[in-house]
């Protein structure tokens, strides 16, 4: 039988120690704050103001009008000074510009052809393919509507009707922060929950407290539960900080399904704590615990769907991602916060997280036997 009195003794001791440990306490609040600022402002996949060079071989007024239209799209910012093609290419290599717009000498004739419905391109973009995201931004310009064509020559060149109509649900302005902030909860919880639990247990071993504890009636599961409980509260506090700030700074919507959010977050916190416990059964020093945490943290950032869409990853990466609790939580939290999903609609990922907790806890308890042999 588990003893509540012993779990309570461990729990209370953990709270006392946490209250004394100012650095850990500061980290609990500072990590979400700093990360939110960094990721919220820095990660922006809607690319704007790509620096570009302009090589104008035609020099006519129609070309100048065309360049002004391109700049008006805000996707491009022309950097003056690279007027001939070799200088522009050198600037591309040096990274001073990420794209070159070349306007041919026969620009006016091509424009005329276009007005009559011809298919030849009127100008050429040379882009820096080493950054696909920038390249994509320029690619998107291919579909740019040209005011020079339509308003004055409406009868000659109606804009081609779109094959699809696209309606943006949930994030109509397509702001990146809306996607990043909920995912950030997964990353921050992964980092803090795993690190704090593993370090808290390894510390007992490092400082010799475990030698006393193993000779007392405390059971491994009681020790783990007592240690985990305070961190659950800390995790929930961090979620509140991230969502509150995300709402205030980046206008990320607050979820309507609070209960669902609470449920999936609790599951993820437990799964992360379980991972921390597993690490603590293997790591001998706090440094090792830290290194193992980073080992889990990196795929949690890169493969979980936080950074790159899960569906775009190759199959093997997807299989690995499925083994990472953060992957499931990123899906869950985005569904609940951004799409107001109810937890009953998300049973698949919930079941995976639950299974993860049960298997992890069993393994950790078996590993942490009180026998030394």
């Amino acid at each position: 039988m588990l003893s509540l009195s012993r779990i309570h003794a461990i729990f209370r001791k953990e709270i006392w120690q946490l209250a004394r440990d100012r650095i850990t306490f500061a980290m609990i609040v500072m990590i979400p704050l700093v990360q939110l600022m960094l990721f919220g402002y820095a990660i922006n996949t809607d690319v704007r103001h790509v620096p570009a060079a302009l090589v104008d071989h035609s020099g006519g007024s129609a070309a100048r009008q065309f360049v002004a239209d391109v700049e008006a799209s805000q996707a491009i910012r022309f950097v003056p000074g690279f007027t001939d093609i070799s200088k522009a290419k050198a600037a591309l290599t040096a990274g001073q510009v990420n794209a070159i717009l070349v306007i041919p000498t026969d620009f006016n004739r091509r424009l005329d052809e276009r007005r009559r419905g011809g298919g030849r391109a009127i100008a050429q973009w040379i882009t820096d393919g080493s950054d696909p995201m920038l390249g994509n931004a320029v690619n998107a310009l291919r579909q740019m509507p040209l005011p020079q064509l339509s308003p004055t020559h409406r009868e000659a060149a109606l804009p081609p009707s779109a094959l699809f109509e696209v309606v943006n649900f949930y994030n109509p302005e397509r702001r990146t922060a809306v996607n990043i902030v909920p995912g950030l909860i997964a990353v921050i919880l992964t980092m803090t929950m795993i690190l704090f639990t593993s370090a808290a247990i390894v510390r007992e071993r490092e400082q010799g407290n475990m030698e006393f504890l193993i000779n007392t009636p405390i059971r491994p599961l009681e020790l783990m539960l007592g240690k985990i409980l305070p961190y659950i509260a800390i995790g929930l506090l961090q979620v509140a900080i991230i969502l509150g700030l995300g709402h205030g700074l980046f206008a990320v919507p607050l979820p309507e399904q609070w209960l669902s959010l609470w449920l999936v977050t609790l599951l993820f916190i437990l799964a992360s704590l379980t991972l921390g416990l597993l690490i603590s059964t293997k790591a001998q020093t706090q440094l090792q615990a830290m290194q193992l945490t980073v080992f889990i943290l990196l795929p949690s950032i890169l493969l979980s769907g936080f950074m790159f869409p899960y569906v775009a990853m190759p199959k093997p990466a997807q299989y690995i991602a499925e083994l990472i609790p953060a992957t499931h939580y990123v899906r869950l939290v985005r569904a609940v916060v951004l799409r107001d999903a109810h937890w009953t609609a998300l049973l698949n990922d919930i079941m995976v997280l639950a299974a993860f907790i049960v298997v992890g806890m069993t393994l950790a308890t078996l590993q942490f036997r009180k026998r030394l042999d």
């Binding site: 003794a9 209370r12 440990d21 000779n215 007392t216 009636p217 009180k370 026998r371 030394l372």
Partner: protein, 314 residues
């Protein structure tokens, strides 16, 4: 009544035999010492006696419980004090004791009284709000003993309890141990310090996982297979090298201005013979054996030789 009854306890780690066929009968209320050099099997033996380690063979009964099967029941009835301070440095004295009271499931209403008793007994009343990390060595020691005896265990394990405290604190600490023993607590002390071992009611000398001697310190001294002499005179370092070559000499160690000689009883060298052997320049005085002599006689090269000696001379 026996608090600990062990028959033929052995423990093997791979090819290494850490404990070999140990028999122990420790009566209740006794302060029993495990004396031996590092790596002699003291820790391994204690871990088997607390149920942390399963013996490779042999039977263990502690407080009437069969180990390792009933280890969980045993834990509530034993106390364990580690060599290194193992409570929490960043908790106060009071918080540490409250934590331990919770771990041993003392009824909530009895805790304040029991904690006050312990604070009083171990002179920590004015330290309740002090963090354990800033206590002195002696205070830490007393706090550790208070924690280990929180639940009034019938059996107390102490691992080199006073290795880190000054002589005055050491005396005080042992007074508390004798109080506990007087009240019926059995205490098992592991140590490699002679002055700790000397205070035990009974001792087992361990080496390489085997028990070399077992008895009260006085009995062990009486049963020594050697007579002890102290020699003073010129060139003691040279004399020492010379006598160590003689088969009648078990050991020779310089202590200050004197050379302490252990001479095999089986060699039948009395004082006049020894004087004759050493020459008139030396002053020889027969002295009472110390526990260190007992330890030397029962371990290492001296032990191996004395086994072969009993064959040669008899």
């Amino acid at each position: 009544m026996l608090a600990i009854d062990v028959q033929g306890m052995s423990r093997r780690f791979g090819d290494y035999l850490a404990v070999n066929q140990l028999d122990l009968q420790i009566p209740a209320g006794c302060i029993y010492g495990f004396l031996g050099p590092n790596g002699c099997g003291k820790s391994t033996s204690i871990r088997m006696l607390t149920g942390l380690l399963t013996p490779s063979s042999g039977t263990i009964q502690v407080l009437g419980l069969e180990l390792p099967r009933q280890a969980d029941l045993l834990r509530q009835r034993i106390g364990y004090m580690t060599q290194k301070f193992s409570l929490y440095d960043n908790l106060t004295v009071l918080e540490n004791l409250e934590f331990v009271a919770g771990i041993y499931q003392l009824p909530r209403r009895e805790r304040p009284l029991r904690i006050r008793q312990l604070l009083d007994l171990y002179q920590l009343e004015d330290k309740t709000q002090v963090r354990a990390g800033s206590l002195s060595g002696g205070q830490k020691q007393r706090l550790a003993l208070a924690a280990a005896t929180m639940h009034q265990p019938a059996l107390l394990f102490l691992d080199e309890p006073t290795s880190a405290v000054d002589p005055e604190n050491r005396r005080e600490f042992w007074e508390r141990l004798f109080d506990l023993s007087d009240a019926g607590t059995t205490i098992l002390v592991s140590t490699h310090y002679m002055d700790e071992a000397e205070r035990c009611h009974r001792l087992a000398i361990l080496e390489r996982g085997e028990k070399r001697a077992d008895g009260s310190p006085a009995d062990l001294m009486a049963q020594m297979p050697a007579d002890v002499y102290e020699v003073s005179g010129p060139e003691l370092r040279q004399l020492r090298r010379q006598v160590l070559g003689w088969p009648q000499i078990m050991s020779a160690a310089q202590i200050g201005q004197r050379l302490r000689l252990l001479v095999y009883k089986s060699a039948s060298w009395d004082l006049p013979v020894l004087q004759q052997q050493l020459g008139p320049a030396y002053l020889i005085e027969p002295v009472r054996p110390s526990l260190e002599d007992v330890f030397v006689a029962n371990t290492g090269a001296a032990y191996a030789e004395s086994v072969s000696h009993s064959r040669n001379f008899s």
